[in-house]
């Protein structure tokens, strides 16, 4: 498959994966391995000082994967910027998946605070990958402030409902000059394939893998879905028609015309 380029860096895989909600770290590692992903996301949280758990860093091979910290939990631009800087201070490369989600029920990204945070973080030297509503106008504004991707949602985070924002994502793809990564809501390999067939540059999944009885098999299924979708996009889908067009010859029938 052709490679994905983000901020001058090339990736063979067009599937990014999250590390949340897996039943165990081993299940998470094996599922990610099966996806052949090269970019994995992590979150930052307070250590429980009464019961310090493992750091996720112990379970991710950073030679192999680009660690993409997110700013999940941030309710406004200020909190997102604070989290991004902490991630960088923790020794991560300055890549940040910007998430600003003030609404706890649907976790929808706040367009205004996301744009504000993006501008600050780009100026601060970060490669900003913003999780965003599927809004083509906002996409333009984010590109203007210098984000290295656009990450519109297919459906709310963790819902597995697929590409509900299809028509708007299609406009974003048409207008974008940076890679478009469909993030959130993709629950099946067919959803991922659909996004890729439309010309999305990559997709990101987490819940779809973590929330199944067999994350390893599902990881491989998503890998194939993404590859199939990309190949179909590169080949070019045939046109849709209203009326039937026979695939078999319309001559030589065994009857008199």
């Amino acid at each position: 498959m052709d490679s994905l380029e983000i901020a001058g860096r090339h990736f063979n895989s067009r599937l990014m994966v999250g590390t949340g909600k897996f039943s165990s770290n081993t299940a998470m590692q094996q599922a990610i391995e099966a996806t052949a992903s090269e970019i994995v996301t992590v979150a930052l949280r307070r250590v429980d000082i009464n019961n310090p758990g493992d750091s996720m860093l112990q379970h991710i091979d950073r030679e192999r994967y680009l660690l993409l910290p997110n700013t999940s939990g941030a309710r406004d631009a200020e909190e997102a910027v604070r989290l991004a800087r902490l991630a960088r201070a923790a020794g991560c490369e300055p890549w940040i998946k910007l998430e600003v989600t003030p609404d706890p029920y649907y976790l929808l990204p706040d367009p205004i605070e996301t744009l504000k945070a993006a501008e600050i973080l780009v100026k601060d030297g970060f490669n900003v990958l913003p999780y965003m509503p599927a809004d083509p106008v906002l996409a333009r504004h984010l590109e203007e402030v210098g984000t290295v991707t656009l990450m519109p949602l297919g459906a709310p985070i963790g819902t597995n409902r697929g590409l509900r924002t299809r028509d708007l994502i299609s406009i974003i793809i048409e207008q974008a000059n940076v890679p478009v990564v469909v993030d959130a809501g993709l629950g099946a390999p067919s959803h991922a394939a659909e996004a890729m067939e439309m010309g999305a540059d990559a997709v990101l999944v987490n819940t779809a893998l973590a929330d199944t009885a067999n994350p390893i098999t599902m990881g491989e299924a998503f890998k194939k879905g993404v590859e199939a979708g990309r190949m179909a996009y590169l080949a070019g889908l045939g046109p849709q028609r209203d009326k039937a067009e026979a695939s078999s010859p319309l001559t030589g029938f065994l009857r008199e015309e």
Partner: protein, 66 residues
């Protein structure tokens, strides 16, 4: 002296350094990132920094997330 560590009230001996505290909590410095009174503590300055009455310390680490 009283401090707020990750939002919880804690009483520490006067003169405790960040390094001593992390040891007490059995946390490895390279696995966490620290913020003291909203300022990030770099790895270099971090461990020798002395804590004071009323300080607010955040000890953060990476967890799974999407």
């Amino acid at each position: 002296m009283n401090l707020l560590i990750n939002g919880e009230q804690r009483t520490l001996e006067k003169g405790t350094t960040v390094c001593t505290l992390l040891n007490q909590l059995q946390l490895q410095p390279e696995r966490v990132v620290l913020e003291l009174n909203r300022q990030i503590l770099s790895a270099a300055q971090g461990s020798e920094t002395e804590l004071h009455e009323g300080d607010q310390l955040e000890i953060i680490q990476f967890v799974g997330g999407g």
